[in-house]
Symmetry: C2
Subunit: 200 residues, 2 copies
């Protein structure tokens, strides 16, 4: 190790990248489980920098939720939007959820929001953010269904919002099972069965 840490100001750190790292730590250890030391070590910075950039552990947590829910943090959503065919899109959504949730080692591990659920009642502001994130996702998915209806790819009486909520909950179920360590293949085997439920 020749690169000994020297004091001073060698380089500025990227706040967004650091926040992404904070998401991973929070997701793995939870809000109270993740100590400031855990966070700063993973982010590669010291505590004063963290407090200067994000204000607080609490604020950092809320900003982590915001970044994740309002953006590219959610891989299944991206997969759903990318795939043109609606049926394949639904499948990609659920399949990506399983992939992310079961690949624990690779750093990206499932849905961060479900890990924040525990703190919804105790940590101020979390419940509101989660509620908003869910509703936005529901609306997002439903909008795609509506567009497919007008395009003629789905029947005219297709209940967009109900199916959107269903799809979200099915994903949540997979994430839950994956987090508990259940078998990946078993979930993949049920994929077609569940895709069928969403798109009639």
């Amino acid at each position: 190790m020749t690169d000994t840490k020297k004091p001073g100001r060698p380089r500025n750190f990227d706040p967004k990248e650091a926040l992404q790292t904070a998401i991973n730590v929070f997701w793995e250890k939870g809000y109270e489980g993740a100590s400031v030391k855990d966070l700063t070590t993973a982010m590669g910075i010291n505590s004063p920098s963290l407090y200067a950039a994000f204000g607080d552990k609490h604020e950092l947590f809320l900003k982590a939720i915001e970044l994740y829910s309002s953006g590219d943090g959610c891989a299944p959503l991206v997969a759903f939007e990318t795939e043109p065919d609606i049926r394949l899109a639904v499948r990609a959504f659920l399949e990506t959820a399983i992939d992310y949730a079961t690949q624990h080692e690779s750093g990206a591990r499932g849905c961060f929001l479900s890990s924040c659920l525990t703190n919804a009642g105790t940590v101020e502001g979390v419940e509101a953010l989660l509620s908003r994130a869910i509703q936005e996702t529901d609306a997002h998915l439903a909008a795609r269904f509506d567009a497919e209806k007008t395009a003629g790819n789905l029947p005219g009486d297709f209940p967009s919002m109900e199916r959107a909520r269903l799809m979200f909950d099915l994903r949540q179920g997979f994430v839950f099972r994956a987090r508990a360590g259940l078998d990946r293949q078993t979930m993949l085997d049920e994929l077609d069965h569940r895709v069928q439920m969403v798109v009639s």
Copy 2:
């Protein structure tokens, strides 16, 4: 207040009742979020009694999970078993889940297991317990479906295990939404739609 706490050994406490109280505290605040002081205060005992009876905060947590998952802790499951008609039973299962998850004030608040999800990766032994609890519940629900098949109340090609897992995940979805503070009526409106999915 005339009943001033006097030292000594006035009365023994009920370990099972205390454990039930511990479940509520853990469920509300999470594993790391619930301090030993929070626990002992709610249980009405002092820390030495807790350590003598349960050994450890960690062991207490595991025993809380065991009590909840292997018993009457799960109200939706009880409702499902009580109702004779299979279709009404499925409905009761989901409806009870919504009721429990949305009645935050009354002390009984939703599914304790989903709040333990966060600690599955960090707290030793939690993942194994959760995995077992889920699989047991799946098998439990599927057994009922199988019995209804032989009784002629469900078609012969009814996929019991797949529907059991689906039902479990649908419940999980409701609990998730309720914990995030979403509207109760919206979930109740979708009830029939989802019951239909489970029982064809």
